[in-house]
Amino acid sequence: MMDDALHLGNVRFTNRLFTGTGKFAANAQIPKMLAASGSQMITVALRRIDTSARQENILAFIPKEVTLLPNTSGARTAEQAVRIARIAREAGCGDFIKIEVITDMKYLMPDNWETLKATEILAKEGFFVLPYVLPDLPLAKRLENAGAAAVMPLGAPIGTNRGLETKPLLELLIENCTVPIVVDAGIGRPSQAAAAMEMGADAVLVNTAIATAADPEAMGRAFDLAVKAGRAAYLAEMAEESALARASSPLTGFLDA
């Protein structure tokens, strides 16, 4: 069987579900969710990392074999994102960085322009940069040229659970980009994660839907199965949907006889 691993940065991922650390009722749920989902990459906001001895450190809940994807949540400019990335690296969080620059606190839309600027700088510094953006093909190509390790377009506004509202735009990215496409934000149900993978997304990042489920561990497992099913369907080259009915016994077959 062919090797279906996803290569990102210097890591080989055999699981295509990326997860997050936000919104859990207790940090102790995180390692259980990771074990149940098999997720090998998890994102954490640098601003949430508390290294003071007084309170629990969120990093202590992430097993060593899971790759850390620190994110720049809270940054309003490229400059701030760059500084957060450097601090994350110095703090021992590795070379991966999810660029998240949000200047709109109402809808939490990523600022594509600032994100591109930060990506250009950080890729040159040797980071594996995963920029979180609105799905915009020309921008995605620029990110690729700037050295992004992957592009992470949103499916729907963050935290909304509305699924793949940007589907036609995501398709363009999937078809035309050479770097992996990771659908991030908006995925609220396992079926939506499966749909993203069927389309040919290389991975999905799911946080809210897992963290806020009544049973995050079981929901992590459900997403893992959905991502695997969607990926398997993509690899099996699903039949296209068709607007026209096709009888399984062709009506004009006799003409070729």
């Binding site: 859990f24 009722a25 940090n27 949430r48 007084r54 309170q55 606190m105 109402k106 809210t208």
Partner: protein
Amino acid sequence: MSIFSTIEQYQGFDFDRFFAGVTDAAIERALTKEKPGPMDFLTLLSPRAASHLEAMAHKAHQLTVQYFGRTIQMFIPLYISNHCTNHCAYCGFNHNNPILRRKLDLAEIEAEARAIARTGMQHVLFLTGEAHHLTPMDYLVDAARLLKRYFASVAIEVYPLAVEEYRQLQEVGVDGMTLFQETYNQEVYKRVHPAGKKRDYHWRLGAPERAAQGGMRVVNIGPLLGLAEPRSEIFFTGLHALYLENSFMETEVAVSLPRFNEAEGDFQPDYLVDDKTFVQFMTALRIFLPRAGLTISTRESAAFRDRILPLGATRYSAGSSTGVGGYSDLKVEQTPQFEITDDRSVEEVAAAIVAHGYQPVYKDWDRIE
């Protein structure tokens, strides 16, 4: 354009008549709309909507979990001065109250900061009364700079400032601003603020937007429930928050719902908000403003705070002292600005939050120099 022009549009609006016309069908519509507008919000604030409280609570809970998860941001207030030139009829720091006045010097603020830091708190809100000559900008800047060495997030609740002054504080590390309008009703405002700089309704009303312009990341507003008719007060608070969200997309907006409590002096509020109405206000605000922070202070009792955790709250103060010098052993007379009802320690509040299935978050901000 400022929030005042929005408020003016409702001058002479007959709230009672509107409430009398609210039907169950209108309430159900307001509850199922994806984007409820101001009139839907007002519908949910109507006396009739009290009979739909359970449905409102479910919707508020679902929205809060969706946008904030099962987390509560923790913060602690630090009073650094109780000098005040205002005569707010309801306040323990009222200029006319014969209390011991005290302004902490930097060494004392540092002692307080050390004591607070030992509790694990990382987000601090520092407060003063309004006394420009005694607690001028230089003093606020020095205090902010000092506190920034001890805390991940430093916010202010001081007298209204100019844009440039907010910016000055932002530059030394202040990331949040809290200021309550107390009442949006101009007549009542005049009556309860008979003297002092606070008499200027407009200067105070414009302060949250000036703070946003000055670069504050979080702006927290609120009415003091009990001064004027509370349903209309919450309505204007919601409109004010919406105005700030729409005008300053980079700013996170939060709302507090302080209600009367015995402060020093003998002030009798004209209106009392009971628990059921309080919950109706909270849930209506959450439904109208799904992404706004909702701050619940220690004015509320421990038992009540525990019960309302899932109904829309996102920020809790804990371990609070509302007197000057209350954390370290400064032996200052402890005349509080208002009475604290939830007097549990930080640890006890955190344990209660955990016991109710929520995560107390101590640190959710870092200033990147």
